[in-house]
Amino acid sequence: MAQASRRIASTIVAVAGGDPAHLNPAITTAGGVHTIAGSLYDGLVELDSAGRPQPGLAERWEVKDGGRTYVFHLRPDVRWHDGVPFTARDVTYTFTEMLLKYSARAKAGLAPALAGIDAPDAATVIFRFRKPYAPLLKRLTVDEAPILPRHLYEGTDPLSNPHNQRPVGTGPYRFVEWAHGDRIVFERNASYFVRGRPRIGRLVWRILPNSTAAAIALERGEVDYLGGVDGPELSRLRAAPGVRLGRNPAGAGGGWCVNTLVPNLRHPPLEDVRVRRALSLAIDRAFLAERLYKGTASPAHGPFHTALGATDRTAPPLAHDSAGAVRLLGAANIVARDGAPRLRLRFTYGTPGFAALAETLRDQFARIGVELLLDPMDFNSAVEKVYIKQDFDLGVASYCNGADPDIGVKRVYDSRNVLPIPFNNGAGYRNPVVDSLFDAAASTLDPVRRRAVYGQVQRILLDDVPYLWLVETDGLRAWRATVRGLRIWSGHTFDEATIVAR
């Protein structure tokens, strides 16, 4: 008992790379908000380390009408941090007024499929769909669909409600204070509905913008947990005594991310599939993974992150063949004249994140006679230029698949999503067959048949090369060896964590 109370009295110090704008994860998909706010809230379900749905705010559920209706039975004993009881109306309010209006992933995938959400009584929520809908359970975690308190938000503008800065949730930790630019402090929710959790008394988020300095702070024990490790810090942290490393592709910003080049298919000659295939062949992905990302990423196999296991068969690694690339360019009548490069492409990207990648790709494309004209700018300007103004040849993005392809893959290839909004189908790819296959997959409940449909999508996309997939990021985390029981795949990272004697 004495030991248990000592554990509860302890503190975990976690690192955030920047101040989140607010702590309302139902109006944004920003990883910076979700990573921190996840501990304050709950979803209807949780996913275990293998991605299987487990009870959350819903203690059980039934799937009816062949997947058209989902009935969730809520826990009766849940209270908001201010003491007000949690009810089904909190769920319907959060979905209709926040998630389906402002959370881009919910709005893009769930909203078109949904016919309605009802709360027949305080402990029951019913989701009704127009067609059978397979991915619902994976969309209901705290990362994708956190539930917020209706009694504090109803009748206000959720984007500017003051509780976005002083959040009230149902989650394992409750908000204490926020010193902007310095720290955000949470304390244990003693009446959390999962008895005995959490086991840590305080969770302090330190805001440390410099990744090198943050790695040193972990090495020194000033902090306990880094939610992201960059390539340059990896070798020093590997060698550091008392530091543990772990990797999991899941993450609060969507997870299962594939760093991808975005060719502007509206521009000739990128509309020619042979040119895109040639560019893909010119990329040495193994080099990128080993030398540039220094082991924090692996070569991409295509549109689906391999760890997601979304398709019936894993695609082979994407080939690297400079001679083949030159032949394809020749076939497309892209030839060098008077010593000038065969092709010049303007590559628009955000710095400093993609600067080293741009330099490396310039070298690799130069080997097939394609000159990459670097167009570096800060992240915000690059996003505006590529997605809003669509004034680019090649862009780059980290496209995150999410726990189900319907969450994060579909939106990138769907022709109904060629719109001036960020991180959507920026290439401008339109293929009605792909659109209908994605829709069919979402309506297919049988997992084996569903994987076969996504396998078909994969074959078409690998053939069409609407994007150039580079590497899959591995989601590397580092923590002090004294911290145990981290759930690094979940927004509820610290639910079960303990600190052992140093």
Binding site: H180, G181, P209, E222, P422
Partner: protein
């Protein structure tokens, strides 16, 4: 004296207005869009939501019209609301300004005391061991002119990681607290920010001292048998110090600019980092508020420098 203050204050008003107008125009013309990243890496909900937000922020209005509205708000003392955090810009700046002021004053004191001390030491060495002095001077010139993001990391590696003497990140530690804890956190960032002006002060002090030591009144004092330390204190330093003090006071712009870099390396929660975050997010009202605050700080520091010099040097006082 008061005439100097009044004259400076009158001159400062058009300066601040001009800077504010220039900043507003530059910030508005820069590429980027404050609403596109509001909804996170998953994209934005839809085109209509983005358009409605732009319209609510008047971003769809001509720049001239927005500039007039901005000055209207400024005249009433309003800095507006942060687009990102949806709280008042004045509140956001008030929360972060004390940290920057603490860092800048600590660095100013360090640069002043150690810069002048080092200058005295170098001038004495130049007279006695000129070769050693030249070597030391060169080493300091190279070592002391590193930008904060290089000098900061080097200091962190030496004093925090290898020697384990000082904390490296933030203003207080997560587990302890108190003023001693803050002092320990202050040492490395203040030193980083102080380095460049410290060596500039040392160089100027050294040059001025070498000059003053040669003067007739010093030779007379020596001939009269007055001890060296007393000559330094009474006859040399007062004549030599106006130059380094002017240099320190006029480097107010360095404190504001250096704070941006130093605060990022040391996770110091001041307005320098607020400026970086606001700029990356294109949070226009917050960017303008922070720059205006920086402008007022620089103008205020320069005014204080004039007053200090006037009190030290009668020639300045008489105008």
């Amino acid at each position: 004296m008061w005439r100097i203050v009044a004259r400076r204050l009158v001159l400062a008003v058009p300066l601040v207005i001009g800077v504010a107008a220039l900043n507003f125009t530059l910030v508005s013309l820069a590429p980027g869009d404050p609403v596109i990243l509001l909804f996170g890496e998953g994209g934005a909900p839809d085109v209509a939501t983005l358009a409605a937000l732009r319209s609510r922020l008047a971003l769809d209005r001509p720049i001239a019209e927005r500039l007039v509205a901005y000055f209207g708000e400024l005249a009433r003392g309003h800095l507006g609301q942060s687009i990102l955090e949806k709280r008042s810009v004045t509140g956001a700046i008030a929360e972060r300004l004390p940290a920057t002021l603490l860092l800048a004053s600590a660095a100013l004191i360090l640069a002043g005391i150690f810069g002048i001390g080092l200058g005295v030491l170098l001038s004495r060495m130049a007279q006695r061991t000129p070769r050693l002095e030249r070597g030391t001077f060169l080493a300091l010139l190279l070592g002391g002119n590193q930008p904060p993001f290089v000098a900061g990391i080097v200091l962190i590696v030496i004093f925090a990681l290898i020697l384990g003497l000082l904390p490296s990140q933030g203003m207080t530690s997560a587990r302890e607290g108190g003023s001693l804890d803050t002092l320990a956190h202050l040492v490395l960032p203040a030193l980083t920010l102080a380095l460049q002006p410290m060596f500039a002060v040392a160089r100027v002090t050294r040059a001025r001292l070498l000059d003053v030591w040669q003067r007739d009144h010093v030779r007379t004092a020596r001939a009269a048998g007055i001890p060296e330390w007393r000559i330094l204190w009474r006859h040399v330093l007062p004549n030599a110090l106006t130059a380094p003090i002017t240099l320190l006071a006029l480097s107010a712009a360095h404190w504001v600019g250096g704070a941006v870099l130093t605060e990022s390396v040391f996770a110091w929660p001041g307005i320098g980092r607020l400026a970086v975050d606001a700029t990356l997010a294109r949070d226009y009202p917050l960017i303008l508020g922070v720059i205006l605050t920086g402008t007022l700080l620089v103008v205020g520091a320069n005014l204080s420098a004039d007053l200090l010099l006037a009190s030290l040097d009668p020639r300045v006082r008489r105008g």
